[in-house]
């Protein structure tokens, strides 16, 4: 197998795993996690094999033709950016699979959960691997769908269903913006692969459609990465089981938007629009997310809002455009995935072992859960930017980028310090508060979490330390290639734990001091923010509810307007349209029939039979009693039969005679039972519009038919049948031969229709009148009661 085939297999593997997961879980129970974790491990190992090439600055592409007629390929692009994401997705993915094995132990639908989780992993891998636009879009929407399934996993609770739907509507809708943006880029350049698009960057930036493409792409990225004002779905997604929150809603999926921005940075980035929109939205999200985080008391919600805040910081850095900003974004993204994934899993451990996630009802767990405490502290230190953890390096680089000291940078540096200080406080509120102080009684007696639960966060926390200590190797293998891939030019990341004095260090110290201050006054700040929010009283989350209700009401109103439930309105609409279609186009296009030539020598008997038919028709309309109506209906039918007879169609005439006779007999039988008057009891003013529409239809049909018959007639088919019905099918009556031989299958279908109609009639006749009456009363319970 070639490397390309293996890569394709690696992209496919999670989906294969998703298929076998339920069965495996049925056999092995929660221990299936150990087996299923091999899937991400195998993927991790496969992609690690590329790291040497990537570190040398090479790019690996490959793929297959997908829709050749549109030049669409199923193709992947492995560079420093996508490789980092792939390793994060598969590496953290393996830990999450193990963690879910412990977290959902004994859950009746654990197999289904594994299946959803692996499907998400496959979608996310495909997303970051995509070189082709359409492949990216397909996997983008697949992550939205799998995220919907995972958030709504606990589908018996309304809150979970609402959160799932909300995430799907926001991120899936954003995906449509993205699609539009990508199609504009495709139209602009004729290129639909990211690896080839970079060369067209000047052309894209000069295009008048640049701003439209940018705004549409940002619509996709900002919804996925929960930027204000689309941030509200992310905290609600905490309704999902904790492994999902740790994986999708901190480490991977929510970074897809940031990934997209980084992927398109060489093409769309660096323009004034980019450097205004991104930092403004990013900074707003950073501050709002951090403020809302300290306001919460639920561990997961605090973490969720700090994730929103971190995503804001990443967007801010991606858009900032100063030296080191891209490097800082790459470092912070990596650091955040490690510490936030670990902290979510710690929150899950606490919840799992004590039965509560409310930080005000937790305390003194340090002796009961020492290992969890250590992991939590290490992760929080990384999140707070304390040495010797990786978060410290990231934060130093962030402040290096923001300390350029022009007017713009000062504003954003101040905002970043405030946001980071709030996040520092939130981090220790999650990681320190539950463990110190007096022991508070919890719903469950707390004890240390089992190995499946602490393994994942422990590995991530240790990595956060190891990556910082071995920063040289990490920069060479991961961060430098990643920053180079984002920037579209060679970048070298150099920051290490070696002490350095300067503005960044000062800002870091300021952040920590401010953070400690906030932590000590957390309760007061929480109350102040809660009061402010109560004063505002409205947020995008409520707006979502209002929009959804409005949508349902609107569609209900439109449906009621269009589908009144009154048959005569439907009929009037249909026939009005028919009249318009028959009459208007010929007038518009000047295709009216020429003056028709009525033959002068029509024999009297032919005229007479036509006159009788018309008289029959008029009599049906005017009939005042049943018998007249039925007989008149028969008259017009028999007249048609005679017309067929006179014009060379004896077969039709015979059939028509039979059918008309039958129709009249059956109609007479039924109408005597119905005891209905055939005449119309409506007043004239209601009948007149109907008559006008009917007349217009009739007139249109006449003009249409005259126009048709004016054209020369193609006798090809008729000649064929005349020529061959004797020689091939051995029948003298051409019409009969067509029916039973040339078009025998049609006739078979016709017989089937007649049979089905007969069966339907039979069942209607034999249906008990009683059961129908209950249907009429629209009361399905009545039948139950009568039994």
């Amino acid at each position: 197998m070639s490397v390309a085939d293996l890569t394709f297999l690696a992209l496919l593997l999670p989906f294969l795993g998703a298929i076998v997961a339920p069965l495996l879980t049925r056999i092995l129970g929660h221990n299936a996690a150990w087996v299923l974790a091999l899937v991400p491990v195998a993927i991790f190992l496969h992609f690690t094999g590329f790291s040497a090439e990537i570190a040398r600055g090479e790019v690996v592409t490959g793929g297959y033709a997908w829709v050749p007629s549109f030049q669409v390929r199923f193709s992947w692009l492995i560079d420093g950016l996508s490789l980092t994401f792939m390793l994060l997705i598969s590496g953290i993915g393996a830990l999450i699979v193990l963690y879910s094995g412990g977290y959902l132990k004994g859950h009746p639908h654990q197999g289904r959960f594994f299946s959803f989780l692996l499907m998400f992993m496959g979608s996310m891998l495909g997303l970051v691997a995509s070189d082709s636009f359409l492949m990216l879009f397909v996997f983008w929407e697949l992550t939205s769908i799998t995220s919907f399934l995972l958030i709504g996993f606990d589908h018996q609770r309304e809150a979970a269903r609402r959160a799932a739907l909300q995430a799907l509507v926001v991120t899936g809708g954003g995906g449509l913006f993205l699609l539009a943006g990508l199609i504009i880029l495709w139209n602009m350049t004729g290129i639909n692969q990211f690896s080839l698009l970079t060369a067209f960057a000047p052309q894209v930036k000069a295009s008048p459609l640049y701003l439209a493409a940018l705004v549409l792409v940002l619509g996709g990225a900002f919804t996925k990465s929960a930027q204000f004002p689309f941030h509200f779905w992310l905290p609600n997604a905490m309704e999902a089981p904790t492994p999902v929150s740790a994986y999708l809603h901190s480490a991977t999926m929510v970074k897809a938007g940031v990934y997209l921005l980084m992927r398109l940075y060489p093409v769309l980035g660096g323009t004034p629009a980019w450097q205004i929109i991104l930092p403004v939205f990013g900074a707003t999200t950073l501050i709002i997310g951090a403020l809302l985080a300290v306001r919460q008391t639920d561990l997961k919600l605090m973490l969720a809002y700090t994730t929103v805040s971190s995503l804001g910081l990443l967007v801010l850095l991606t858009g900032f455009g100063a030296p080191y900003a891209i490097e800082a974004a790459a470092l912070y993204l990596l650091a955040h995935s490690l510490f936030k994934g670990a902290l979510f899993m710690v929150a899950g451990c606490i919840d799992h072992e004590t039965g509560t996630r409310d930080v005000t009802r937790l305390g003194g767990l340090r002796f009961a859960m020492p290992l969890t405490f250590a992991i939590a502290l290490a992760s929080a230190a990384s999140m707070g930017g304390l040495p010797p953890f990786f978060g410290f390096l990231a934060k130093e680089e962030v402040y290096t980028a923001l300390s350029a000291f022009d007017g713009r940078a000062i504003i954003f540096a101040v905002l970043a310090v405030v946001g980071n200080a709030l996040m520092f406080a939130a981090a220790f509120a999650v990681a320190l508060k539950p463990f110190i102080g007096k022991r508070i009684e919890t719903p469950k007696a707390a004890h240390e979490a089992p190995v499946l639960l602490w393994l994942g966060p422990a590995v991530l926390a240790l990595k956060g330390l190891a990556v910082a200590l071995l920063s040289g190797t990490v920069h060479e293998l991961i961060t430098s290639p990643m920053a180079s891939a984002i920037a579209g030019e060679a970048r070298v990341v150099t920051i290490s734990l070696a002490p350095h004095i300067g503005v960044p260090a000062a800002l870091s110290t300021l952040t920590v001091l401010l953070g400690i201050g906030v932590y000590l006054r957390l309760a007061r700040l929480r109350a102040a923010i809660a009061a402010a929010l109560a004063a505002i009283g409205w947020g995008p989350d409520r707006g979502f509810d209002q929009a959804m209700r409005g949508l349902v009401r609107l569609s209900s109103a439109v449906t009621r307007r269009l589908q009144t439930g009154r048959l005569d309105i439907y009929m009037t609409a249909t026939f009005t349209l028919l009249a318009v279609v028959l009459i208007v186009p010929p007038f518009l296009y000047g295709e009216l029939a020429r003056a028709p030539v009525f033959p002068q020598d029509i024999p009297l008997h032919e005229l007479a039979i036509m006159a009788i038919a018309v008289i029959g028709l008029v009599a049906v309309v005017l009939a005042q009693d049943r018998l007249t109506a039925i007989v008149s209906l028969g008259i017009q039918g028999f007249s048609v039969a005679v017309i067929f007879l006179l014009y060379g169609a004896p077969d039709l005439a015979f059939t028509q005679f039979m059918i008309e006779t039958l129709a009249v007999v059956i109609l007479a039988l039924v109408m005597t039972r119905l005891r209905l008057s055939p005449s119309d009891h409506r007043p004239l003013r209601e009948n007149l519009p109907d008559a006008a529409i009917a007349l217009a239809c009739g007139l249109g049909a006449t003009l249409f038919l005259i126009k048709v018959t004016e054209a020369p007639f193609d006798t090809g088919l008729s000649d064929f049948f005349n020529q061959y019905s004797k020689t091939i099918a051995h029948g003298a009556n051409v019409v009969n031969v067509i029916i039973v031989d040339f078009r025998g299958t049609d006739t078979l279908g016709e017989i089937a229709v007649v049979m089905i109609a007969a069966l339907a009639i039979l069942s209607l006749v034999r249906l008990r009148a009683g059961s129908l009456r209950r249907i009429a009363d629209n009361d399905p319970d009545a039948e139950e009661a009568s039994r």
Partner: protein, 125 residues
């Protein structure tokens, strides 16, 4: 001859549509029956009209001697007559059932499936 037939078809169609727009099922039924005839005449006319020569091949011949009426529309109409009759019969029994169950022949009053003043759709999740 075709313009005369076109006029006749138009008259059939007018009457059929007028009857079908009524609110009373029995009149709609008669409209459906006439509509079948109107459509058959439409097909018949489009295939062009020829007097009195049915498309039948005489004994001892392989092809018809001289021009005959167009066999193709006749074959189509033959099928159509039978289908429209089954349809008519089904509608007839259905209306009889509807009338005996609902006690009305006015389509405005048949509101079992779409009742007037139905409750608004649920607004929850």
């Amino acid at each position: 001859m075709e313009p005369v037939f076109a006029l006749l078809t138009g008259i059939f169609l007018t009457i059929a549509i007028y009857l079908m727009m009524s609110k009373f099922i029995i009149r709609m039924l008669m409209g459906v029956a006439i509509l079948g005839n109107a459509v058959n005449l439409l097909i018949f006319t489009s295939g062009r009209i020829m007097r009195e020569v049915p498309p039948v091949i005489g004994p001892g011949l392989d092809v018809p001697a001289g021009p005959v009426a167009n066999p193709l529309p006749q074959a189509l109409i033959l099928t159509a007559i039978v289908i429209s009759f089954s349809f008519f019969a089904f509608l007839l029994v259905l209306s009889w059932r509807a009338y005996s169950t609902l006690g009305t022949d006015n389509t405005d009053e048949m509101r079992v499936a779409e009742p007037d003043g139905a409750p608004p759709p649920p607004l929850g999740y």
